[in-house]
């Protein structure tokens, strides 16, 4: 949406983490078009359904292309765009419900393919748009509108999941620091392969986690967020595993393996060996 569109009436609640994610994505895309001298239209943002997915309509300034589809299917839509046009920069934006619940079945296959796209996941540990139901990242026992007596399942650790499924780039960020987050998104876009930037993006209305994420010394609350140290070897699987399992939320690049070929590279390698037949030749093969 280039200017204020009076017809578009969706608004994020004051303080919603998604504002910061939007800023970060705007920074990252602007940097990219300047550094690479490509037009903004080279970017395609594929959005999930949720408060988070509305990001695609709320971007300010030059507009990328957008695809706001159906709940849970950002990854295969993005695959179609990328395989159709490998030259485009394809970014997924989706909530934890969209990405990790209904869309979960698509993460593993994209990781195995090493599809060269970047997924920015806005995790607020709740379903915002449908008014506060539990999500896969909601903690066990938490009361939400759909778990009046407490959530019955344990929460998943998304970073652990991505690592297990074989994503070749995993970063963890926080919506409260858009500049830092932009750097992670840029690193994800620059990474040749499937990059996931998982963002803590609190929902001020249904699950306000700012205080526990950032901590509050006056109340004696220790922050969950901690910065991954400079010494962390992100190319090392064991180190990544350890960072994920050190408690709290790491912020920074958790894992990066830039050596695996992408799906496109694999296809190109095969295609250079296969002889392409014309439609006429294919048809001639059926001659009686």
């Amino acid at each position: 949406m280039s200017a204020k569109n009076p017809e578009y009436d969706f608004k994020w609640c004051p303080g919603c983490g998604d504002f910061g994610v939007r800023r970060a994505l705007e920074f990252a895309m602007s940097d990219r078009i300047i550094n690479r001298e490509i037009p903004m239209e080279n970017n395609v943002v594929v959005a999930g359904i949720g408060c988070s997915g509305n990001l695609v309509h709320l971007l300010e300034g030059d507009q990328p292309y957008g695809f706001h589809g159906i709940h849970g299917r950002t990854l295969p839509i993005a695959m179609g765009v990328k395989m159709g046009r490998p030259d485009l920069n394809v970014v997924v934006v989706a909530g934890d419900g969209d990405f990790l619940s209904i869309g979960m079945e698509h993460i593993g296959p994209q990781a195995a393919r090493n599809l060269d796209i970047t997924a920015v996941v806005m995790d607020n540990a709740v379903y915002g748009l449908t008014k506060g139901q539990s999500s896969p990242t909601t903690e066990l026992g938490v009361t939400t509108s759909s778990t009046p007596y407490g959530k019955l399942e344990q929460s998943i650790n998304p970073l652990d999941l991505y690592l297990t499924l074989g994503a070749s780039f995993i970063a963890s960020g926080f919506s409260g620091k858009p500049r830092d987050l932009a750097k992670l998104i840029t690193a994800g876009m620059d990474h040749p392969g499937f990059a996931i930037v998982h963002v803590q993006s609190p929902c001020t209305t249904y699950n306000d986690t700012y205080q526990i994420l950032k901590g509050n010394p006056r109340k004696g609350i220790a922050p969950l967020l901690w910065d991954i140290s400079e010494e962390h070897d992100s190319s090392d699987y064991a180190s990544a595993y350890q960072a994920i399992h050190s408690g709290g939320w790491p912020v920074g690049i958790v894992y990066r393996n830039a050596d695996r070929p992408t799906l496109n590279q694999r296809i190109q390698a095969i295609q250079s060996k296969v002889k392409q037949k014309t439609t006429q030749e294919l048809l001639d093969a059926y001659d009686i």
Partner: protein, 554 residues
């Protein structure tokens, strides 16, 4: 592996006969009853044929299963190495494998059978020899040896048939159809049609009877900008097409009922966001897992209205193997023209049937491409009452392809007048597709028969029989089920009765026609098998006579 029946079809087509195979497979991989039927004729063939002139039974089970299909004058050839029959006056045994082995080529068993069957109808031996010579001339060192052993096998089969004393008369000389012919299965014709239409991207998930299209594409849709790929589900397949179509590519997937059901939500999105794509539903028996290896025409309702909300997708249903090719080209053209998903309905009996058809002339195939936006940024992609040029990512004209109701630039909206405007825009675009052609005969008759899809074959042979008997009956056929050619719909509405032979319980096409003001009645069958010509002709005649009596009484 080529079966004896397929070899028979190839040899006959090579000699200039018309040939068609029809196969059913068991669901299990090994064992189980597999059979293939071949129909050979000097005139064009439209059905698999009702009864068997020759049954070749490789084992006892096949003999027992198919004995009842053998005609009164039919002959049974059985594999005497596998079982023995008492002399019943219509059968003879042949040690098929042993004879093949004696030629020094164990793989020549098909030719033993072919030699015997051809001899029963006095098909000139030369035809077979020429076929074998051409087929096995492959530029390899052992070509000559293989050709000789196969010719020997033909002769051995022939000797067996001659000494059995059976004969089915003499098949007339073939009248070679004009122009170059190809022998092709329906699914391959679909794949070739997609290539001719300029397909860029194929994404699919294996499912009978559509899998051969995926496999074909993975072999052949290669090269710069081309991509054929097996994904993890039909949901992935359809949503990947959404991305590819959005990115400016021509994309297709093929599936069968269960996969099609999974695609419903995505198809609604394609309609809403205006993304071109072709989805092939090769029907099998349903519902749920249904009858994976049998034929049925029971997906019509779900293909016409697959998704929730106000959606009405274009549907093209070819009736012959030849039409499979042209229907696919047209499905792409329609998708590009109206910018949305087009459903191509095939069915198991077309997909797996090999048939000789006139070779398509690629230079005459008309290929359409979507109108592409070439202006500056700030484009109103969804403006106007009908299809508008489509922007392609990477170039100016960025917008949001949106599955929520949207304003012209693609932002979500809830305004009532917008929903009215956009709904009408989407339905208006269907008017671009009213150029479908149709067949018509004896249009002055108040009663007509109008099959759809693969039932066209048996129905047109039944129609021929009824014409010979003088039954008063008109004929209509179109593969453009939705939107129907408007002139055709007008004609149908004038009829007292339109009889619709179709392979489903509910009479889905008849019901659809009734909802459009046509007095249509279905003639249904839901056995998992195609109609038999004779039976169908009887059923049509009964209905015509009943209707005439009703009219006279009134």
């Amino acid at each position: 592996m080529v079966t004896s029946a397929e070899a028979m079809a190839q040899a006959a087509a090579h000699a200039g006969y018309n040939a068609q195979t029809f196969a059913t497979f068991p669901s299990q991989i090994l064992g189980g009853p597999t059979w293939t039927q071949t129909h050979v004729s000097t005139s064009p063939i439209l059905s698999a044929g009702d009864e068997l002139d020759v049954l070749v039974a490789f084992n006892k089970a096949a003999y027992e299963n198919h004995l009842s299909e053998v005609g009164a004058k039919g002959v049974i050839i059985y594999n005497s190495e596998d079982f023995q029959l008492e002399d019943d006056g219509k059968s003879f045994g042949m040690p098929i494998e042993k004879l093949a082995k004696s030629t020094g080529n164990t793989r020549a068993a098909n030719m033993v059978v072919l030699g015997a069957v051809a001899s029963l109808v006095n098909m000139p031996h030369d035809y077979l020899v020429q076929f074998v010579t051409r087929r096995f001339t492959r530029g390899r060192a052992n070509d000559q040896a293989i050709i000789e052993s196969n010719i020997k096998a033909l002769a051995l089969g022939r000797e067996q048939a001659v000494s059995s004393g059976f004969s089915l008369g003499t098949i007339p000389h073939p009248q070679r159809p004009e122009g170059q012919q190809i022998l092709v299965k329906g699914n391959d014709a679909v794949s070739l049609g997609a290539m001719a239409a300029g397909i860029d991207i194929y994404v699919g998930y294996p499912i009978s009877p559509a899998t051969t299209i995926l496999v074909w594409m993975e072999h052949n849709l290669v090269g710069p900008g081309k991509f054929a790929y097996q994904v993890s589900s039909e949901i992935e397949a359809l949503t990947a097409l959404l991305g590819a179509g959005f990115a400016g590519r021509k994309a297709m997937t093929a599936t069968a009922g269960p996969g099609f059901s999974l695609m419903n939500e995505g198809l609604g999105l394609a309609w809403m966001a205006e993304i071109p794509m072709v989805v092939v539903d090769v029907q099998r028996g349903g519902p749920a897992t249904g009858l994976p290896t049998k034929t049925e025409q029971s997906d019509l309702f779900c293909c016409m209205r697959p998704a929730h909300g106000d959606v009405s997708l274009p549907v093209i249903a070819p009736g012959t193997v030849e039409e499979c090719f042209y229907a696919t080209v047209q499905a792409f053209n329609w998708a590009e023209r109206y910018q949305g998903p087009v459903i191509l309905m095939s069915e198991m009996s077309l997909a797996e049937r090999a048939q000789n058809i006139p070779k398509p002339d690629l230079s005459k195939v008309v290929v359409e491409n979507r109108r592409v936006y070439t202006g500056n940024n700030g484009y109103m992609r969804y403006d106007g009452p009908g299809a508008s040029p489509m922007p392609i990512p990477g170039r100016p004209g960025s917008y949001v392809a949106n599955g929520s109701e949207h304003d012209p630039i693609g932002d979500t909206t809830h305004l009532p007048e917008r929903h009215v405007q956009m709904t009408e825009r989407r339905f208006n675009k269907l008017k671009l597709l009213e150029d479908g052609s149709y067949e018509r005969m004896n249009t002055e008759e108040p009663i007509a028969v109008m099959p759809w899809g693969g039932s066209k074959g048996p129905a047109s042979e039944a129609y021929k029989l009824l014409m010979e008997e003088g039954t008063p009956l008109g004929w209509y056929f179109t593969m453009y089920l939705h939107p129907l050619p408007p002139a055709l719909l007008e004609e149908l509405r004038q009829k007292e009765l339109v009889l619709v032979p179709e392979l489903n319980y509910q009479g889905q096409w008849a019901s659809t026609l009734r909802s459009q003001g046509v007095k249509a009645e279905a003639i249904t069958q839901y056995t998992g098998l195609p109609f038999k010509v004779g039976e169908l002709a009887e059923r049509i005649k009964e209905r015509v006579n009943a209707s005439i009596k009703r009219t006279v009484r009134a």
